[in-house]
């Protein structure tokens, strides 16, 4: 495997992980544009813009984009998060040049009025769809409650009102600022023809307007900490979501914190699993880390029968307390490391995963650690590190959101 990085004259970063043994080529544009970059008036614009990149460019109609993606057999998709928008596709190696050309073209969409107003309806359908599928909407509501006015509190999809109020002009201006080559990374992994790639990208992006994207200047961490329950809607199940502090993407303690979260709340074999899932008390009880540039969160999610909510919640809080009082054992740490390392090793064989790995690392750090180096960082975590992170990031400083019919369990 050969990792290499390049910076084009226009500022675009290109990272490549070439492995001739792979059977596919995975390509992704990582744009530093997400919900945290939006003002209140622009709420939802990053995600809406992601849709619009599929709706046509000066060279292609939406139909032509979709047809060509399917013609290349491209397993193509896009995702928008709090800090990034990612466009990616995986193809047979023989289609490398074509997919790079197509994705590059999509980064400069036409943003025509007609397409804008048709797609606006699709976005409103997407928002409605998630409202019908609790606890999907809960995540964004909880982020808002936890982060308050911090930019990470902005909902990725926006709201009905903010999406309906967006205009093509405002979107064009946002695109101009954020989709500048200096604000983007192109990641390519799998079987890669590197000289061809560089020649293609140089040619395809040379006329992209170069502007300096506004820098992000966020305070560290949430503005609201405490216990608060919000009942958001009726559902047949009861869901409880919780956010607590966690390390940021730049915090050296993040490996230890991820292992601590696995010991406490991985979806199998964790303390939460044995007490709440294996016993059949909950359908789901799991904890995951979300790391951002300025801060991080530990999100816990519980799903259960409404009548069991009080018992489950009490047991969950007792387990949290117990986690601080009865510190993890060497054996628990060994299990967590085995799982983390096995999962990294397996994922590493798939071109698309490699592309996400190098792209995410580069757009965040501007540097790259191999899978072996990351595995070594996990291996080095000690029990003392685990204990330190549980004290640094106390789970009881949390924001809680309950969704469902049982409002009495508090």
């Amino acid at each position: 495997m050969a990792f290499a990085n390049y910076k084009l004259d226009n500022g675009l970063q290109v990272v490549v992980d070439d492995n001739p043994q792979c059977h596919l080529t995975a390509v992704g544009y990582f744009v530093k544009a997400g919900a945290c970059d939006e003002t209140l008036e622009l709420s939802g614009v990053s995600h809406f813009l992601e849709h619009m990149c599929f709706k046509g460019t000066p060279q292609r109609s939406a139909l032509e984009i979709n047809q060509q993606l399917d013609e290349l057999g491209a397993n193509c998709n896009a995702r928008t998060g709090e800090e990034h928008t990612i466009y990616h596709a995986t193809v047979l190696p023989e289609f490398q040049s074509q997919i790079v050309e197509l994705l590059s073209d999509m980064m400069q969409p036409s943003l025509s009025d007609e397409d804008f107003f048709t797609e606006q309806k699709v976005i409103l359908e997407e928002i409605a769809m998630y409202r019908d599928q609790p606890p999907y909407g809960g995540h964004e509501q909880l982020m808002r409650a936890y982060f308050g006015d911090h930019p990470l509190g902005q909902p990725v999809l926006g709201t009905d009102a903010s999406v309906a109020a967006l205009t093509p002009e405002a979107m064009a201006s946002y695109h101009h600022q954020r989709y500048s080559p200096g604000n983007m990374t192109l990641a390519v992994a799998g079987r890669v023809d590197v000289p061809q790639l560089l020649a293609d990208v140089e040619r395809l992006t040379k006329n992209w307007p170069v502007v300096v994207a506004p820098s992000r200047q966020f305070g560290a961490g949430p503005q609201i900490v405490g216990r608060e329950f919000l009942q958001v809607q009726q559902a047949s199940q009861q869901y409880i979501l919780q956010l607590a502090p966690g390390p940021s993407l730049f915090d050296p303690d993040r490996y230890a914190a991820r292992l601590a979260a696995m010991i406490f709340g991985d979806d199998t074999g964790s303390r939460l699993f044995w007490r709440l899932v294996d016993s059949g008390k909950t359908d789901l009880a799991a904890v995951g880390h979300y790391e951002y540039e300025s801060t991080g969160v530990l999100m816990s999610m519980l799903a259960m029968r409404p009548e069991d909510a009080a018992e489950v919640w009490a047991e969950f809080e007792a387990l949290e307390q117990e986690f601080v009082e009865q510190t993890p054992t060497e054996y628990e740490l060994k299990l967590a490391k085995a799982k983390a390392i096995a999962s990294l090793s397996s994922a590493n064989e798939i071109s698309e995963n490699r592309m996400f790995d190098i792209g995410s690392q580069w757009v965040t750090y501007g540097s790259y650690l191999t899978v072996e180096q990351v595995i070594e960082l996990y291996r080095q975590v000690t029990l003392a590190d685990i204990i330190r992170v549980t004290q640094r990031f106390p789970m009881h400083e949390k924001q809680v959101l309950a969704i469902g019919p049982n409002w009495e369990f508090r």
Partner: protein, 417 residues
């Protein structure tokens, strides 16, 4: 056509072992299938297969529940189980050096499950929780209802079970189901990835070779029913699903109809995506596919849309079903061919996906197709052949299910069978 990295072996007791070596990987994977799917449950006991599967994971041989899971985790194995219409299956992958010890654990699970009585209520709750959680998933409820209607009570049963039938399942029924259905008769073990075939086969023979088979059993088929069913829900969106009978996977012309349905609703350039979402902005999600069982199959389509636009969505989908009858075009076929080829290559990067595909091929076709064979099949496909098939075999939607705040009006031609 024999391929030098594909292997197969039938043990004396009936167990079929299939292998495909992928030496460029560091991992190896297995897919272990028993004829213990939902179709084999007695009527009125839907959920028995799922509950039995859950109970098999609660201890075997010298391991209790927790020791078993931790043993797999220490070996770095990522594992899962699945109950389908015909099979209860277990799958897993790990670094190649741990592969044989992981197989040993699963031999123990399949042959010496403890089925501990004192874990029954917890296991039952785990299965029930899965069903409770689906109550908030309206797209899934819609597709579940469609499946039950179209395939009937034996084959159409949702493999996760029914709440009341799960609640009444007794330990003795689980024991009997396990003893009857977990047997080398009809069992498939597919392995793929980085392993040595001779060494693996020897191990597999030592783990399962002396296991005696129980006589095979079958199930009684019950017919499905057509027509329109609406489920009232106070939801933002109306969910629409429909099914039309077609030929199952394994029949000679399957690839022809698979291509046509791909053109209809698979991918962003598909007709449904273009007409329903891209041109009209009616929905976020719309697709069509084939749901194939062994001897029966249907073309299904789904969309979810806000109530005010549901009728137009249904009408547009129905119109696209009709238009498909008139045939597909060269460019559409070309796109489908590349999609299939890319999917095949994706399996070459994931031994877990490959092991699953090998097991499925064996069950449906009694052989494993090589990449070359599928490519040749693809090359033989042509627009005139697909269109002739469509002209000779009209697609007639026989079942429609909607879930939402208001019933819809069926366009002409739907559910006329």
């Amino acid at each position: 056509m024999p391929v030098d990295n594909q292997f197969q072996h039938r043990c004396a007791n009936g167990l079929v072992v299939l292998g495909e070596t992928m030496p460029w990987l560091n991992t190896a994977a297995f897919s272990l299938q028993f004829r213990a799917g939902s179709a084999y449950q007695p009527l009125g006991q839907n959920g028995l297969a799922a509950l039995t599967c859950e109970m098999t994971e609660r201890g075997c041989g010298e391991y209790n529940n927790r020791q078993f899971l931790e043993a797999t985790e220490l070996l770095g194995a990522s594992t899962a189980n699945h109950v389908g219409t015909y099979h209860t299956g277990y799958s897993g992958s790990c670094l190649h050096e741990n592969f044989l010890p992981v197989l040993e654990l699963y031999a123990k699970l399949s042959r010496a499950a403890r089925l501990p009585v004192d874990e029954l209520e917890a296991a039952r709750l785990v299965c029930l929780q899965e069903l409770y959680s689906q109550q908030d998933d309206l797209p899934q409820q819609t597709l579940r209802t469609l499946r039950e209607r179209f395939f009937g009570p034996t084959l159409g049963r949702w493999p996760d079970g029914e709440i009341d039938e799960l609640e009444s399942a007794a330990w003795s029924q689980i024991r009997d189901f396990y003893w009857e259905r977990f047997s080398p008769e009809g069992m498939i073990l597919a392995i793929a990835g980085n392993f040595n075939w001779t060494e693996c086969l020897e191990k597999i023979e030592s783990l399962w070779g002396d296991w005696s088979a129980t006589p095979p059993s079958s199930f009684a088929m019950t017919p499905g029913q057509g027509g329109y069913q609406h489920l009232q829900e106070d939801s933002q969106q109306t969910h629409i699903a429909m099914a039309a009978p077609t030929i199952p996977f394994g029949q000679e012309d399957y690839f022809l109809i698979r291509c046509a349905v791909g053109v209809l609703g698979d991918g962003m350039s598909s007709r449904l995506f273009q007409e329903v979402r891209e041109k009209r902005g009616l929905c976020y999600s719309v697709f069509a596919g084939i749901h194939s069982l062994l001897d029966t199959a249907c073309i299904t389509a789904y969309s979810g849309t806000t109530a005010a636009r549901a009728q137009e969505t249904l009408d547009t989908i129905a119109a696209e079903f009709s238009r498909l009858q008139q045939g597909i075009h060269e460019d559409e076929l070309r796109r489908i061919k590349v999609q299939v080829r890319t999917g095949l290559m994706a399996q070459q990067e994931s031994c877990r996906a490959r092991a699953g595909a090998i097991a499925s091929d064996w069950f449906y076709l009694h052989r494993v197709r090589s990449k070359q064979e599928i490519n040749e099949q693809l090359n033989r496909l042509s627009v005139p052949r697909v269109n002739q098939y469509l002209a000779d075999h009209p697609i007639e939607v026989s079942s429609v299910v909607t879930v939402g705040s208001a019933q819809l009006e069926l366009p002409h031609g739907l559910c006329q069978l």
